[in-house]
Symmetry: C2
Subunit: 430 residues, 2 copies
């Protein structure tokens, strides 16, 4: 339940999609790493807040207690700490596992791909962060998914808002989890969760609500920097200063048109410490294709400066910022589009079918196809001893093979091959 087989058409489309993502990661100079699907159970425990209960655990069959990785970020942090790496730009594309309620139509599975790009190291503020946003922009543009918006916020600004609204510091993280539900439920419901479950006063919640509705660009940053209360909060001021710097860099990248500084963005995970962001596709009126409603965010990420230190015996910190592309959601959109367009995705790359028009010519086919393979040409032939020519040509049409190399008795004695263009039916002797 929540997993699925991927038939050839789906793998072909997925490989095309992953190709675009990998190209972008390589364009930005990232190296690839790989880690085991299995992690020590203790590595994963306590890293995902409430969602730790969704970790798949292996049976105790003797030896170590193991679990399946839940994301690629925690294994990356473990890898950095274990190998004492303080500086790295890496990407990792692999499957992760969550015992979640699957929602297959919206591309939510228990086994799914993550495509992560992260920059680890002590650097000057906001330069790697800006590159992560540029990467999201490039990938969503390259994939031609239609219009999109990248929401940006900073945990420090959020925490500042909480602080000046009277939320005790011990509740900051759980408040972020509640806030994170804002893209699934209206503010009124989030507000009542804050008051009912999290024990906030109505006034505090309403005060938070005023800030949370704000979104904009540099103008909003400037306004909040002048905000009499918020500007007094050290964390918020730091966050707003960095946000301003970030927008400067994004202006140089020419991508601010699709970036929105949005105070309602919180992100669910515990480990974020600075900039956070999330990309959403904008609903569009499209004459031909019905876009699935509520596909949600298609990319997200942020800065997590404390995670690596949790795996280091001496607690040495390695600041990190990274982005994860929601490839499964994007895939389910693309798959629907391909279906709607009636485009036939080829599942093989075969260039030529070696065919025979008469019986007793298997040896000729085997000899010719062997020559073609040895010359690096992608070739197939029927596994029947004496297949009918019509069936062989039909196979070309069904699978999109563009050429048939036909050897009959005449061709054999003339020492030639008849090369047939399957679409035009033109034939040449070569």
């Amino acid at each position: 339940q929540g997993t699925r087989d991927h038939p050839p058409a789906r793998v072909a489309l997925r490989d095309r999609l992953l190709g675009t993502v990998v190209s972008c990661f390589k364009r930005h100079g990232a190296a690839a790493i790989d880690t085991p699907v299995l992690e020590l159970r203790e590595t994963l425990m306590g890293k995902y807040g409430e969602d730790t209960k969704l970790v798949y655990e292996l049976q105790d069959q003797g030896g170590e207690l193991l679990a399946l990785r839940y994301d690629l970020t925690v294994p990356f942090a473990r890898y950095l700490a274990m190998n004492k790496i303080t500086n790295m730009k890496r990407y990792h594309i692999a499957k992760v596992y969550r015992r979640d309620n699957p929602a297959m139509t919206r591309g939510r599975y228990r086994e799914f791909y993550q495509c992560d790009f992260d920059i680890a190291g002590h650097f000057d503020p906001m330069i790697p962060d800006a590159e992560c946003l540029k990467i999201v922009y490039e990938i969503l543009s390259d994939l031609q998914l239609g219009d999109f918006l990248i929401k940006v916020n900073d945990r420090r600004i959020l925490n500042g808002v909480f602080a000046i609204c009277g939320v005790p510091e011990s509740k900051f993280i759980t408040m972020c989890s509640t806030m994170d539900k804002l893209d699934k439920m209206p503010w009124e419901e989030v507000r009542s969760e804050m008051v009912g479950e999290k024990g906030l006063s109505l006034e505090a919640a309403d005060h938070i609500g005023e800030y949370v509705q704000l979104h904009g660009g540099l103008d909003l940053i400037e306004r909040l920097l002048q905000d009499p209360k918020l500007s007094q909060n050290k964390l918020a001021k730091e966050g707003l200063g960095d946000m301003k710097l970030l927008f400067e860099y994004l202006t140089l990248f020419g991508i601010t048109g699709k970036i929105s500084f949005d105070l309602s963005l919180a992100r669910g995970l515990d480990y974020y410490t600075g900039v956070i962001f999330e990309a959403v596709l904008l609903q569009q009126q499209n004459d031909h294709v019905e876009e699935p409603v509520g596909v949600g965010s298609v990319a997200g990420g942020g800065r997590y400066d404390g995670l690596v230190g949790m795996f280091d015996p001496k607690g040495r910190k390695v600041p990190c910022v990274g982005v994860s592309i929601g490839i499964e959601r994007i895939f389910s959109i693309l798959e629907r589009r391909v279906e709607a367009s009636g485009e036939k995705v080829r599942t093989t790359e075969t260039q030529v079918l070696v065919a025979t028009p008469q019986k007793h010519l298997l040896a000729a086919r085997l000899k010719l196809i062997s020559e073609l393979w040895d010359a690096g040409i992608k070739a197939e032939m029927s596994y029947k001893k004496d297949p009918k020519l019509l069936k062989q040509l039909q196979y070309c049409e069904d699978t999109g093979i563009p050429l048939a190399a036909i050897v009959g008795e005449q061709e054999l004695s003339d020492g030639v091959v008849k090369l047939r263009d399957v679409a035009t039916r033109e034939e040449v002797r070569v």
Copy 2:
């Protein structure tokens, strides 16, 4: 234990290796499929004989009882039966899991890649089987691993030998398991296991021993077809007839020089029903590189006509033949060679580093690199605001970046970029 992280240099080498394998599979017209890492526990149980105890099981956390896949063949058979597919040529490259005793120096892990190519369907005898052997030949040649030998046998011939030597049919499969140890221990030990553990008479074991020592080509097949006892056995005769046909096809492919019909080859798995084969690298005296001793087989496979039927409610059979490339063993050989040669494997593909020679030029770098990325050029820059030029150039040398695009104050005011060849130190203004 038995798993490992793969740092960038290893992933880069692995991707190169997998690229060669995938090219060959595609050259032969195979489509890719993917299946979940998780299978229902019942799917895997009873498919691997004694080795079923090596299957990793997931903890019962409610819902289905799951296990990690042990190989790619059983999931493929399950996939065919579940989707009622009777005809397919597919490849699948993915990780599998075995709670085995790891022997990391010899490339044996608990998590490792398998690269499988299989042909399913009712066809004329030995045509797909011959293609599988051609594939092994091509891949081992393409990888330039040095001299190799592909041993071929047929379960039907082996069973015929057992029958005429007086082994009861109920012991055929367990006899194959014992025979399979012949590449790890001498005949004397295998013989005493046959007599001691499997309860064979000394005469029967010695009689088997006579056959088991035989290996050769078409001549041996002809001789055995004349063997007064063996030729009387229906199964053996069928197997020998097909072996003759196989050698005819392999002759047309021009690869018999590296094929040996070897009666000692048994293969461990229960599910084989016909042709079986295994490729081994031949020990070579190499002046430069010490080859690891006992790397064992680097590819293997065979025909399994009954497996798909085990997953079909009506038991409908889909004959299959396939090959698995032992990529981890090959990888450990290649890795040792690369280490010995001192070759530096680049882990990124970056073409140009955007650099500045003075302070306060971050904006110029950000603008230029953005242009390069947008033009599809693989580019990096330092994440420091004001990095030293020497450090930037040193980074190019360390990571193999061939070009540096330098923007200084002079270049900025002239509206040019200084393009520096890192190796030759030549510079041009563009």
